[in-house]
Symmetry: C2
Subunit: 143 residues, 2 copies
DNA sequence: TCTAAATTAGTAATGATTATAAATTGAAAT
DNA sequence: ATTTCAATTTATAATCATTACTAATTTAGA
């Protein structure tokens, strides 16, 4: 869904090695429109990389967040951190019942992003633009 | 900084009792422009309420989040959840070094909020509009 | 090939949060 | 006023996502 080279180049440019494990994590992050957790990534890759460690997944995600290559969205009602490989300004919608996170494109949020970049004085690493509630499916179930 | 009656009325209207502990937590939330954690609230109130339990603080915050009376912003680089009693649309800036969260008013984000409310199809509880990075003071220290 | 630093894997430790259960409170109903 | 009963609080234990640690492995460069 996103460009894997953004992720891999971020790692390489910062002097970090592009190991097979990191490459696989970047591939997965770039290919999915989900907003994965460390555990989900680990479980997806385990069949192909049986020796992969969950600690490696956490380390890689931490590195990518520090480089601004992915965003750390936080919990979706499930107590675990969700990540977003799409760092283009957009809105995320989290359902606190089914714990899914989806995207909602928005022109307004692009203005917000440049507003913050220009006026905050902060050195920005990432953004957490997320509304939480009940998705239409889970609303229907709840009735 | 905010209106305490919004918080207390939310509790009462939902059938929850307005106990002294809950009242004190709401007062603190409404009075501060910090974005407190459960532990900070607990430590602030302990002198006045020596018997207060940290569990009660967590329960009250959970209830207020469920009612949409406060927002759950997530971590500011410190691994603990920060809350925001100001649910009016605005931008939050978190410093991952000093773990402070400040507000940045924005007209654009108000448009985003109504956009999401009208077009998402979600029943919304709250928002997490937060940019993270290094504040000007921590940038200066880092040099 | 040799060397040293980076990385990984495996496991232990941490600590924020949640669960549990007994004690307390408080709003009715009698 | 007393009783009743559910809600709430407190204290403590349990959970579990994440981080820390260490030995083994990999890899880039000399
Ligand atoms: Mn997204
Ligand atoms: Mn705020
Ligand atoms: Zn849902
Ligand atoms: Zn700072």
């Amino acid at each position: 869904m996103n460009d894997i080279s953004i992720l891999t180049k971020a790692l390489q440019h910062s002097g970090l090695r592009l190991t097979p494990q990191r490459m696989a994590i970047c591939e997965l992050l770039a290919a999915t429109d989900r907003h994965p957790t460390a555990l989900w990534i680990y479980e997806q890759l385990r069949p192909r990389y049986p020796s992969l460690s969950l600690a490696t997944v956490y380390h890689t995600l931490e590195a990518l967040v520090g480089l601004g290559a992915i965003n750390e969205l936080g919990s979706a009602g499930d107590g675990t951190v969700h990540y977003d490989a799409n760092v283009q300004p957009h809105i995320n919608l989290a359902c606190v019942s089914c714990h899914r996170v989806i995207d909602l494109p928005s022109e307004h949020i692009e203005h917000v992003a440049s507003e913050v970049k220009d006026a905050s004085g902060y050195r920005l690493f990432g953004a957490r633009i997320l509304y939480y509630g009940l998705c239409p499916e889970c609303q229907a179930k709840a009735i």
